[in-house]
Structure formats: C-alpha cells, structure tokens
C-alpha cells in the first residue's frame, strides 16, 4: 500500500472516529438516554448537561489515564523485577545501580546539566533580550537567534558535531587552532570539559526561547519606573539590575524551571554526540543503554529521572494553575 494512501486512511479513520464518537455520544445522550420531552423535560435537560462534559472528555481522560497514570505505576512496578521480568527483586535494581560507576557518572553529569544549562540559557537570553530592546534591527537579530528552536535536537547536535570535529578541514574549533599552529584536539574527548561542550548545544537552542519570553517581560515593565531611576542618576547597569530584573523575576524563574524540566528529559543530544562515551553519559541516555535489554534497570533509571523532575514539575504546575485560574 502506498504511504500516501496509508496516511489518508489513517487521517480518515482517526479524525472520522473522533468526530463520530462526539456526534454519536451526543446524539444518544440527547435522544435516547435523556430525551427532552414528556414530563421530565426540564430534569432531563439538566441531567444531560451534567453528563455531557464527561462524555466528551472521556477519550482524553481515558487516554491520559491509560497512558500516563498506568505507565508511571507500571514502570515503577516493572523496576522491582529482574532483567527477564519473572522474579521480584524489590529495590534490587536500584541498589545495584547506585553502586555502579556508570550510574554515578551519569547522575553527576546530569547535575552539571541541571546547574549549567538553565542558568546559561536564561542568562544569555536575558542579555540578548536587553541588548536588542529598542534596537531597530533587534527583531532580525532575535529571529535569527530563535532559529535553532525550529531544528530538532538531533539536527542541532549534528551541526555542532561538525563544529567540534577533529578534522581541521571541517571543525571550526580545530580550524582556528590549526591557523594558530596548534594541534587539533577532539573536544568531545576532553575529560570533564567535554560535558560542557555538549551542554552548550542545548544552551544554543534554548537561548532563543528564554530571549523571546524575557523580551516580552521587559517590554511589560512600566516606563515610569525606568525613567524615574534615570532621573535619579542611575547608570544603565543599575537600571538593569536594580529596576528591571526585580520586576521580571517571576518570569525569569518560570523560564528557568521550564528549561530545567526540559534539560532533565533531553537524551537526543548526548546520544547523537558521543553515545554516552568518554564519561558524558546522563541519566536519560544511560537509560537508553538498558532499554529493551534490561527493562528492570531501564525503568529504575526512568524512575530516578521522574523523582528528580517531580519537585520542579509540581512547582511549575502550581504556578501554571495560579496563572490560569
């Protein structure tokens, strides 16, 4: 079957199925279960109104329940079993894992990522947002800096793979070193610092995101506060750090936490850059080493990731709910 035909069928079945469900369930509710006629007219209309939202949300609740709640519990349950999944070993996977060099490296590197990436991306984003503020061609600069957001993590990693390439014909870093008469160096194999070279890719991608949101926040600052500070003789640095930054602190924190959550999930970059070699493993890529080979271990790693993300996630969800209500 041609892929286009297959795609068309999927669209028709999928969208048609959804529309069909919504229409049919609505029709049954109105005409069969609670018909708006006879003596019960009013009561039936009210009942139907009460049931209806649930009917319409059912697919989403069902899906989220089945594919969100169940997997989380299911994953935890699976992590208590051995590799083959036929023997209950309690927290065995966790204790073996914690005692392992590889896991500790991944955990340590992950902490580096969480400390460095959100901080650097937010900082650069804020810097660019401030520098381009009220600049005529600032919007062009901003749209270019935002561009990496459109590229997949794998694509972005491959671009940087070339920047870091050992070969001075192709790697920018080594081309520069070459022109200075230095020997080429494979930055992805430099102990410890290679982590930062990989992290920088995510910073490169996420700066645009931080910049756009912080730029909007900077625009929202009332002009009078800035003018008043200038009249009082504040220099540009004082205006920025003492007047502007405190006023957008809330946004800065949201940007920071959002990037933190993302940072904890990203595995594509390490996977594409080093495959976790040269001590660059982080937890999500460490997990993929065990995926479909030792599922007990893989789910245990997934759970560690989950536990690390959870506090930030809860904070962010509460913030979002406050915002929306």
């Amino acid at each position: 079957m041609s892929p286009i035909l297959q795609g068309l069928i999927t669209i028709i079945v999928g969208v048609g199925g959804c529309v069909g469900y919504f229409f049919a369930s609505n029709w049954i509710l109105d005409k069969v279960i609670f018909p708006a006629r006879n003596d019960d007219h009013g009561r039936n209309v009210n009942r139907a109104t009460m049931v209806r939202p649930w009917l319409f949300l059912f697919p989403a609740i069902f899906a989220l329940g089945l594919y969100l709640v169940y997997p989380v519990i299911g994953s935890f349950y699976r992590s208590l079993f051995n590799r083959a999944g036929d023997e209950f070993i309690g927290l065995g996977n966790y204790t073996t894992m914690f005692g392992e060099e590889g896991f500790r490296t991944a955990f340590f590197n992950n902490m580096l990522w969480v400390l460095f990436v959100p901080a650097a991306a937010t900082f650069f984003g804020l810097l660019v947002a401030q520098l381009t503020d009220k600049l005529k061609w600032g919007n062009i600069a901003k749209s270019l800096i935002f561009m990496p957001m459109a590229i997949s993590f794998v694509g972005a990693s491959l671009i940087w793979k070339f920047v870091y390439a050992n070969d001075p014909d192709i790697g920018i870093i080594n081309a520069v070193r070459d022109s200075m008469g230095l020997d080429p160096v494979d930055v992805l194999q430099l102990p410890f610092w290679n982590n930062f070279f990989i992290m920088f890719i995510l910073v490169w991608i996420q700066t645009g995101f931080a910049m756009v949101i912080l730029s909007a926040a900077l625009r929202g600052i009332p002009e009078e506060t800035v003018e008043a500070a200038i009249i009082d003789g504040a220099n540009p640095f004082q205006v920025f750090f003492k007047i502007k930054v405190p006023q957008i602190m809330g946004t800065i924190v949201v940007v920071w936490t959002t990037i933190t959550i993302l940072t904890l999930k990203v595995f594509d970059i390490v996977y594409a850059m080093t495959g976790g070699n040269f001590d660059t493993e982080i937890l999500p890529s460490y997990m993929m080493d065990f995926m479909f080979r030792d599922d007990g271990r893989a789910t245990a790693v997934a759970f560690v990731i989950m536990i690390i993300v959870l506090p930030v996630m809860i904070w962010n969800i509460r913030q979002a709910r406050k915002e929306m209500n």
Binding site: I4, G7, G14, V15, C18, F22, N26, T49, P53, F56, L57, I61, A63, L64, L66, Y67, L68, V69, P71, G74, R78, L127, L131, A141, S143, F146, M147, P148, I151, S152, V154, L158, I159, W160, K161, F162, D169, I172, A175, F209, I213, A216, I230, I231, V255, I261, K265, F267, D268, A272, M287, M291, F292, D295, A302, M306, N316, I317, Q319, R321
Partner: protein, 296 residues
C-alpha cells in the same frame, strides 16, 4: 523641563558612545556565535568533497554543486541500506499530518468543554493535563511499548501516530482551553437561551473564532512531532523510522569515507519543513512555543 531633567546621562557623550560600541560588539559576537554553525552547514553542503579538503571552511563555495543534496536525499547510507533520507522523510510526513490533525481536533473539543462548561472535577483534569505536558517521557516508554504490542501496532507508523496523539493531547487541550476562556460566557448563555445545543455553540461561536489558536496548535504539534527522536527511536523499526532517526543513522554510520557535505545536506533537509514553517509563520511559531511553556 523634561530635557533638563534627563540631562545627566546625556552630559556624558563619551560614556554613551563607548557603551554603544560595547553593545554592538557584544551583539556581533553573539550573532557570530549563534549563526556560524548554520552558515558553515549551508556552505559546506554546497561544496564538493575535494573543495572541503582544501581547508577553506569559512569561505563561500567556489563552485556551487547540489550533488551532496542529491546523495543525501536518495543515495546516502543508513547502515546497510542506501536509499538516502527520502523514504524516512515521507515516513515523517505520513506520521506527522494525521497525528497533528487528530490531536488538534481532540484538543479543540476538550479545550471547549473545560473552558466553557464548568463542571466538578475540572481542576483535577486540568492538573492531569499539565502533568501530561511536563512528564519525562522516559517513564512511559516501556509500558507504552507493551501497549503497542498488545494493540498490534508495535513498530508501525499508525503506532507512532497513536503515541504522538496521546502525548500531544495535553498541550493541545491547554492551548485551546486558554484561548476559549477568553470568549465571554454571555455569548454562550445567549446562544443557550436561543436553544443552541452543545455542538451548535461550538460550531457557530467557537470555531469561527479559532483560526489563530488552530494555527498556533498545528505549528506547535507539527514541530514537536517532526523533531521527535525519543519515540521515533523507541517505537519504530527498519522501514518505519522517522527522518530524525534516519539522519542520526546517516551521520553516525561508520562505514566508508566521511562525506561531510552529504551529512550537512541531510541535516538541512531534515530540518527544512520546520525551518520553512518558522520563516513563513514565525509569529505563530513563537507564540506557540511560548504558550507551550506556560507564561509567567
């Protein structure tokens, strides 16, 4: 009066000038830093391998050739197969379009229900949706793989569509919900008084107003699904892999001579659809990404 009041900073023109130059230099360095990789990628993809070997990395190509693009599209090797990116590119197209449409549609329905039909338990669902937006997908990988196996969708494109729809619903619902709460409830009440039903209200009041949010949602979903790697690498098999997975295989395959120009052309081809969307509809693109992060 105002001129007088603002005079202190203006009275130091040298300081201002120096600051201005500092600002421009800083921005220049930034632009270089952020754009150099993209620039090198495009120029290298247009060079021949011999020209790359001459070590003129940052120069424009002396002779523009699209050979590398052709090879990347239809001849580059992903492991043992040498069909280029083309089949995988189509996989991604066939995968992304239905997944985007279905998740957007379900999101619109759900967003409408949550925003305008107040009912008990809405808050719980709301939290659940946000949870779905932020959860590290690593946690759901293995149970999902088993589920796809049970449904008979393991390793297939419909299976991937299914996964993307499920995990897209959280975001699409929130997008529509946040948009629909801004529609005045008086409008809905008036329509109800006039006897309009649930669907009628959605169809005649909400849908005509929805164009901007539909565009934002479609772009967001498309970018997410097109750029996805984790689900692609976990739930596909040879032949059903999306373009991101194939790209990684092409560049990281170790056989033969490293054809840098082909690799770079492949990276551009794989990024092209989302880049085009960004160039054509940048405003909506940015709005989607920022809305997706939950504004502060």
């Amino acid at each position: 009066m105002t001129d007088l009041a603002l005079s202190p900073p203006l009275s130091r023109p040298w300081g201002r000038l120096a600051l201005r130059w500092l600002l421009f230099t800083l921005l220049g360095v930034f632009a270089l830093f952020y754009l150099m990789p993209l620039f090198v990628m495009v120029t290298t993809s247009l060079k021949s391998l011999e020209e790359i070997r001459t070590g003129s990395l940052i120069a424009f190509p002396r002779e523009v050739t699209f050979e590398a693009w052709k090879t990347a599209w239809s001849g580059a090797c992903t492991g043992i197969q040498c069909e280029g990116l083309r089949p995988y590119f189509w996989n991604s197209v066939v995968l992304a379009i239905p997944a985007v449409l279905i998740s957007t549609f379900v999101g619109a329905m759900n967003g409408y229900v949550i925003a305008q039909w107040r009912f008990r338990g809405a808050n719980l669902i709301f939290s659940l949706l946000l949870f779905g937006c932020f959860i590290p997908f690593q946690v759901v990988l293995l149970p999902m793989a088993r589920m796809l196996g049970i449904l008979g969708l393991a390793g297939s494109i419909p299976g991937l569509i299914f996964v993307h729809v499920i995990y897209g619903i959280g975001f699409t619902t929130l997008f529509f919900r946040n948009y629909y709460v801004t529609i005045p409830s008086e409008l809905v009440k008036a329509a109800k008084v006039d006897g309009a039903g649930f669907f009628r209200i959605f169809w005649s009041i909400f849908l005509p107003l929805s164009l901007p949010i539909v565009v934002v949602t479609v772009i967001w979903q498309f970018t997410q699904i097109w750029n996805d790697f984790l689900f692609g690498v976990s739930f596909s098999q040879a032949g059903t892999q999306p373009v991101t997975v194939a790209l990684n295989n092409i560049v990281n395959s170790t056989t033969g001579v490293k054809e840098y120009n082909v690799d770079m052309a492949a990276a551009i081809i794989a990024a092209l659809p989302t880049l085009i969307v960004y160039v054509v509809a940048g405003k909506y693109f940015i709005r989607g990404l920022t809305a997706g992060s939950v504004k502060g």
